[in-house]
């Protein structure tokens, strides 16, 4: 049974200029102990998926529907207060994009990590002990406990944020671009840490990123997001080595490789505006293989046990 099962999730925002279809009918699931990577370029709705699972919706939400079932229980029907007190951080925790912004500048790092424990009734000294333990686990010296965020380096802050996400022993960890603000050398350190945590704590992970190479460090399976929709999903081997959807193929060939002579490719045109996504297949205006059927929305084809793709090219597959 998957730990997280998302079906037909929709999240639309209303803005002055119109309705933004940030998440448009997205389904995916994560098995226990598995890491799923959601990969997509800027403005394709990645972060919106994270916040709809965490139910941290902004004020201007227009549509929020579908089903999110966690550990067998349906979340969407849960009253807000119950969701807050029983699910958030206790079962599902999150590492936010940009650690420097997700730490409160006037509180000491230790308190920020320990805070959820204390709020749930754990004694101060016990919470402190547990926090120091966690700081050690994420590779930080324990004196970080009494430091303010502005006294820490970028990499240290990122580790604090990771420690913070682990304080309640969550089952599922959502990582939203956890390293995008860091230099490659620090990025590698953090990815190793996350890998270690996933292995040692048997965490189920949802890894959200624009960088498919980075995601391959930790993800067992991938879902490729384009314009608010998942256009291809499957296990790491298939997606990275034998992608079926033209967008995935193009995305991979656009990624410059250090260890091969293959020249990076590109996709011409710009990603669509989520206000007015193209009719039919959302990738068709930029797709090199575009043909007649692309003007209508393609179904999701199951290409194998492990791979699904949303493209008319697979019409003859079944």
């Amino acid at each position: 049974m998957p730990i997280l099962d998302v079906r037909n999730l929709k999240l639309h925002y209303s803005t002055e200029r119109g309705l933004v279809h940030a998440v448009d009918d997205v389904s995916f699931s994560i098995k226990e102990g598995e890491a799923l990577g959601i990969v997509g370029e800027s403005g394709c709705g990645k972060t919106s998926i994270a916040i709809s699972i965490m139910r941290l919706l902004p004020r201007n939400v227009a549509v929020y529907s579908g089903s999110v079932s966690f550990d067998g229980g349906e979340m969407m029907q849960l009253p807000a207060e119950e969701f807050r007190s029983s699910i958030r951080w206790k079962k599902i925790a999150m590492v936010f994009q940009g650690a420097m912004n997700s730490l409160n500048p006037v509180l000491r790092a230790g308190l920020q990590v320990a805070e959820p424990l204390i709020a749930n009734g754990t004694g101060k000294s016990e919470a402190e002990r547990r926090t120091r333990e966690l700081l050690h686990l994420v590779g930080l010296p324990t004196e970080v406990f009494s430091r303010f965020p502005h006294e820490l380096s970028g990499g240290m802050k990122q580790r604090v944020v990771i420690a913070m996400s682990l304080i309640m022993n969550p089952k599922l960890l959502i990582l939203d671009e956890p390293t995008s603000a860091l230099d490659v050398s620090i990025q590698a350190q953090i990815m190793n840490l996350l890998k270690k945590l996933k292995r040692e704590l048997k965490l189920s992970t949802l890894f959200i990123t624009h960088d498919i190479a980075l995601a391959s460090d930790i993800c067992d399976r991938f879902a490729v997001l384009y314009a608010g929709q998942i256009i291809e999903s499957g296990d790491a081997d298939h997606i990275l080595l034998a992608p079926e959807h033209p967008y995935t193929q193009k995305l991979l060939s656009s990624t410059p490789r250090l260890r091969s002579e293959y020249k990076p490719d590109f996709i011409s045109g710009a990603p669509p505006d989520l206000m007015t996504p193209p009719v039919g297949c959302r990738f068709h205006p930029r797709c090199p293989y575009v043909f007649e059927p692309c003007k209508t929305d393609p179904p999701t084809y199951s290409l194998s046990e492990l791979q699904e793709s949303r493209c008319w090219l697979h019409l003859n597959h079944q």
Binding site: G155, D183, V184, S185, D211, L241, R257, F266
Partner: protein, 329 residues
């Protein structure tokens, strides 16, 4: 071949107030000697805070170096005043990192592209118009007339970078500094901009300084790579060789840290450099990389500052592991 840009022992120190009455020096660029040949692309690779952008700005003389000598096409431009630099401004141009802040939001594309012509009094209005439309064609922003009348906020990141490129080309320069030109745009569009740059380079014989933190694109788009760490160039040589056989421990670590999309990644540790790059006001003594170096040799690396020496033909490294030129093996 005569180099177009030649830097000799260039230093750029900034004053930083740190504490009461105490002013410290941030050594952004610290004794760099480097030349860029006519028609080549040199990639300056380094992490944030390595001084690569400062070095780029020095070659454009938007900064006055603390000391050292900067030559352009054989002429010393180190101490020229702004009004003596007009000829140089015409011949050297730049493309910037941020597609959102590099175009004046109050000007439309036509006005943006007309600005360089106006500054240098080039052509009459009709000729200007011709040249602007042609530049737009060259960066593949067509229909040109339509793009010319757009304001920056109506363009996507990739389109803005192309306007940036067109602006840099308006005066038909010889030298272009491209400072992280693609790091803020989507992966799927990066190669397009870089390809375009390369194509125009070939057409006009441009010399390019490509500043980047991404050694992978440097490998594909540059002829040579210079690796910077804390204000110093630590390694320097042809792009292919540096990637294939990095010599300096920092370069090695940098290359190892770059991920590639490979399902096998999750089964192994990524090698990484310990610690973080210190601030340019607290530069370690001697070899500045020694506190993080896995080949640290006590008594040597923390005592003597290794010079940048040519270890192979066209290959320079500043590291005590390579005290003398290597035999060609």
């Amino acid at each position: 071949m005569k180099p177009l840009i030649n830097l000799q022992n260039v230093k750029m120190y900034f004053q930083v107030r740190s504490g009461f009455f105490r002013i410290q020096l941030a050594k952004a660029v610290d004794d760099v000697t480097l030349s860029i040949n006519r028609g080549e692309t040199l990639a300056l690779v380094g992490e944030s805070g390595s001084g690569k952008t400062t070095l780029g700005r020095l070659t454009l003389r938007i900064l006055d170096p603390t000391s050292g000598r900067i030559e352009f096409d054989g002429q010393n431009i180190t101490n020229l005043k702004e009004d003596e630099l007009t000829w140089f401004r015409r011949r050297a141009q730049a493309i910037f990192q941020d597609p959102y802040s590099s175009l004046d939001p109050f000007m439309n594309v036509f006005q943006i592209l007309e600005e360089p012509l106006k500054i240098h009094n080039a052509g009459d209005p009709r000729e200007r118009r011709e040249r602007i439309l042609q530049a737009l064609r060259e960066v593949r922003l067509s229909p040109e007339e339509e793009f010319a009348s757009k304001y920056p906020y109506m363009l996507s990141g990739g389109q803005r970078q192309r306007v940036n490129l067109a602006r840099a080309l308006m005066l038909k320069p010889e030298y272009i500094v491209a400072d992280e030109p693609v790091s803020m745009i989507d992966v799927s569009s990066r190669a397009e901009i870089l390809e375009l740059l390369r194509e125009l380079q070939q057409r006009y014989g441009l010399t390019i300084l490509y500043i980047t933190h991404d050694i992978a694109t440097a490998k594909h788009f540059a002829d040579r790579i210079a690796v910077m760490y804390l204000g110093r160039i630590v390694e320097y040589g042809s792009a292919a060789e540096i990637v294939k056989q990095p010599l300096h421990p920092y370069t090695i670590a940098l290359i190892e840290a770059v991920p590639e999309p490979d399902p096998a990644n999750r089964l192994r540790e990524r090698s990484s450099i310990a610690g973080e790059q210190p601030s340019p006001i607290k530069i370690p003594v001697a070899c500045r990389f020694h506190p993080r170096c896995r080949f640290f040799m006590p008594g040597k690396c923390d005592v003597i500052d290794p010079p940048l020496i040519e270890v192979k033909k066209g290959r320079y490294v500043a590291c005590h592991l390579y005290p003398e030129p290597m035999s060609d093996a």
